[in-house]
Symmetry: C2
């Protein structure tokens, strides 16, 4: 423990030169200048940020390297840090600081005004939820998750019914803290994707469904490409090294991050200078580690690109779940499943895995990594069918929240929905409504829409970048990504949360969230791949 | 964040059945029963324990996997957790709990009475040191350490003089908080090794020196064994695998721990179920990873052997720095540098490293790993000369603290001391008084004696174990350590801090700390190795 926190004395004098003592609003409660309020606010936020970051280190360790014996104490340690951060955040003194500075927002620097706007949003969300509910929901989420870990391999949906029923009650109760609302799912959707509602999401999804269903049908009328070579044997260490090498060439900075193996891939941030990713790796699947790594690197490049000046405040993070997912999907799909990308990387991949890939032509590889198929598991789904999986879940959770579907009828509804939209249905719940962790972690509602929003935005951002920079494609074909990453950093990443998501989208792309570029991208790419008549 | 801290309601009723309401002392301040005070105390201690454990996870990560970019935020995060733990520990409410329970110690269960005794000691030490001093000393320690990181490779002792002078002032100031004392180093020695003083340490060291100097001389008159084969090329992954395999066969439980690589080896504990070790590994040195791993595994087995019932309180840890070091040295030297040990393991080592070791006989290997040599670097020193390095440092720091030696004269004093005792002297300060981190971390005094105490106790414990269990040697010769580890667990490990170090030593060995077994061990082992006349 060599270094100690410095107090903010120099920062407290930062803006005083441009102020006079007489101007109204310059003297705060207890005679403190308003700058002192801002400094105290930022000091509090920095401690909260650091407590949460320390908690994230503990979670990362739990997922990567912790021995089994450490689990019990780790749960206790993580809960303590979470509680200390939460207590500090809902402190009424913090609320008073927000009130005070909000009333003087016009006098604040732009970033500070953004900070107050974002804080108001987060603070209101936090204080509306009673501590007693948080404890109750957290305990239930933990119990439900542990039950699901056992129930899924045993295909035991019946055993999960009581948990899900309580989860549904808790989710409805959560929404009630934010009443009135137009739809009961709205508060949860807004948590993840500020500005989105059930109604806007439904409109987007209707547009997608109208186009995707015939597209999937047209594709699946064709002969599917051969992808058996993707499931040969690939050395795991070589897979990891190749994947990380691609991610770093894309711009993921390993001086401020690292790659480790976990059961489920994720990205986590401890500081602007420490944004880590993890991946899964399977010996018999060349795609898994590679695309998981690039996906997480997309999230990580976003976080690494947020202006470091926001470190220690709520501004220093990606703006919404949907915009975050747009970056993981942009790099994973729009870039790393494109033909120009593999024109550059395929020779290196073939050299690394000469046995299984040496005699496979680029075109066959490109077709294999973009194979569209009616399949059961969301996380393994291709770009075209993926959103159908999302929409099924979104529709079902709306029905559950609205009281139009009972938990016990979920398997049947899942089966019917899969058949109708994806065209296949699972023979058991393991590959059906037991497959995703989300509902089993203690919340029904508000999570799945972000994945589809991410897909939509990935193409919208990419189109906006390539418009003024048509060289992005040829750069990709020579393993360079500077123009693309530069555009994303300039137009999306650096802002952090200073602008709301819809404003970031509008400024970057000239329009609101729209499905047109995404659908055009899918039609063009898969029209070519499957030689469809346009 | 799936699990949340459970409140201690069931524990609070644990002992109530054996109590009556009328007995005096059963009703505490504010009408609380004294059990409630104990429960509240343990709740506070558990939070402090968890905050410190979380800080240790952060430190472990910093040393193992953290990218360079994470350093600044990590310093801030660690300092915050340290401060929160310290604030909770020096809380006057905790002091009142100790007062209250101390007055009723006779009514407490034995472990709770021990807890109060240990807490009193720790609490008094903590509150006697002003927070202002802690901040000042910590900031200086950090600055000094960072300066030393640069200065050592540049051999720049002059640049370190101002830092060391301030460190000496701060160390003297630290001691002043515990005045009166017989010697200014006593408070710092007592911090690390409860019950030891400058006077007792000096007596021990005089005994050691009297025997060691002629022993070293006699050995160094002989032809040194050849150990060039130890510096061939050894695959690093194989070294790590072999080292960990040895450690686990000794009894280090990797379900409750793990081994990673770091610049400096260490052992760290996050919980009874998570005690990790690290090692260094050098391709051109077969001994480094192996003996470092076993050394740290000795520390770790001690911590893993502490009764899990003490988890979350100050009782749940090794009792002193000296007793801790006795376990690392016992496993590293008395066991893993013994002939019986290698009778079992050498064939496996030869098989793993057939190139460099295939034609080296066991006896040559055994002589090489116990080669005694007049050398400059403490951490590379053999068993026989090691204590001479320690005594030099101890003598010099006493002189510094007493004001009989000036910082600027340290290099000359080091040179003279090395020549007199070890028989060689460094040509520069890099391999002289700049070599150890201790003085450069912000404290002069109280650290080095523990290493020698550990050496002494390693043989004292081993002799006490083999007395009633003469089969320990033959077990070692067949790669089994159950009897030895069982004896150590029963007589040392399980107690944690419930008994003071001198009582643990006395109960386990039947006598107080004594150099006789250690000197007998060295004379016997090195007498044989170097064919000395006894």
């Amino acid at each position: 423990m060599r270094s100690r926190r410095k107090s903010g004395t120099s920062a407290s004098r930062r803006r005083s030169a441009v102020k006079t003592k007489r101007r109204p609003g310059k003297t705060a409660r207890n005679g403190q200048p308003s700058d002192a309020i801002l400094v105290d606010l930022k000091h509090r936020l920095s401690e909260i940020y650091d407590l949460n970051a320390a908690g994230s280190v503990l979670s990362w360790d739990e997922a990567t390297y912790m021995p089994v014996g450490g689990a019990a104490a780790r749960g206790r340690q993580s809960a303590l840090l979470g509680r200390l951060a939460h207590e500090r955040f809902v402190d009424p003194a913090l609320g008073k600081h927000i009130d005070y500075l909000e009333a003087r927002a016009g006098e604040l620097a732009a970033a500070d005004a953004s900070l107050i706007r974002v804080l108001r949003r987060d603070y209101e969300k936090a204080i509306k939820v009673p501590a007693e509910y948080v404890a109750r929901a957290s305990a239930h989420g933990s119990a439900s998750y542990n039950a699901w870990i056992r129930a899924r391999p045993e295909n035991d949906f019946a055993g999960m019914i009581p948990f899900l029923e309580k989860t549904l009650d808790l989710s409805r109760e959560y929404a009630s803290f934010f009443a009135p609302y137009a739809h009961i799912a709205d508060p949860m959707i807004d948590d993840a994707d500020e500005g989105m509602t059930t109604a806007t999401t439904q409109r987007l999804f209707a547009e997608l469904r109208r186009e995707l269903l015939p597209l999937v049908r047209a594709i699946c009328d064709q002969q599917p490409p051969d992808d058996a070579f993707m499931r040969a044997s690939f050395d795991e260490a070589e897979q990891l090294a190749f994947s990380l090498s691609v991610a770093t060439q894309m711009g993921y900075d390993v001086a401020r991050g690292r790659l480790d193996k976990t059961h489920h891939p994720f990205c986590t941030k401890f500081a602007a200078g420490d944004v880590r990713i993890t991946t899964r790796v399977r010996r018999d699947d060349i795609g898994d580690a590679l695309f998981s790594t690039v996906h997480e690197a997309g999230h990580a490049m976003y976080e690494q690109g947020v202006s470091a000046s926001f470190e220690g405040t709520p501004l220093g993070a990606g703006v919404s779940a949907g915009v975050h997912e747009s970056q993981s999907r942009l790099w994973e799909n729009v870039v790393a499943r494109s033909r120009p990308f593999w024109e550059h990387y395929y020779p290196a991949l073939q050299k690394t895995f000469a046995g299984p890939l040496g005699s496979v032509p680029l075109d066959s590889f490109y077709r294999a990594i973009n194979k569209v198929t009616r399949s059961l598991i969301r996380t393994d789904a291709d770009e075209v069918t993926y959103n159908l999986h999302i929409m099924l879940r979104f529709d079902l959770e709306l029905k559950l929240l609205e009281g139009r579907l009972r938990i016990k009828d979920l398997p049947d509804a899942w089966h019917a929905g899969m058949l109708a939209d994806v065209g296949v249905a699972p023979s058991d719940d393991r590959d059906g409504c037991l497959q995703d962790v989300h509902w089993y972690s203690g919340r029904i509602g508000g999570a799945f829409q972000s994945y589809a929003i991410g897909n939509i935005l990935s193409a919208q951002f990419f189109a906006a970048a390539t418009g003024p920079h048509p060289n992005i494609g040829s750069e990709m074909a020579s393993g360079r990504f500077d123009t693309l990453r530069g555009w994303l950093t300039e137009n999306v990443y650096r802002y952090g949360r200073t602008l709301p998501p819809d404003e970031i989208v509008a400024r970057a792309t000239g329009t609101t969230l729209t499905t047109a570029p995404y659908l055009a991208y899918l039609r063009r790419k898969y029209g070519e791949l499957y030689r469809l008549s346009q």
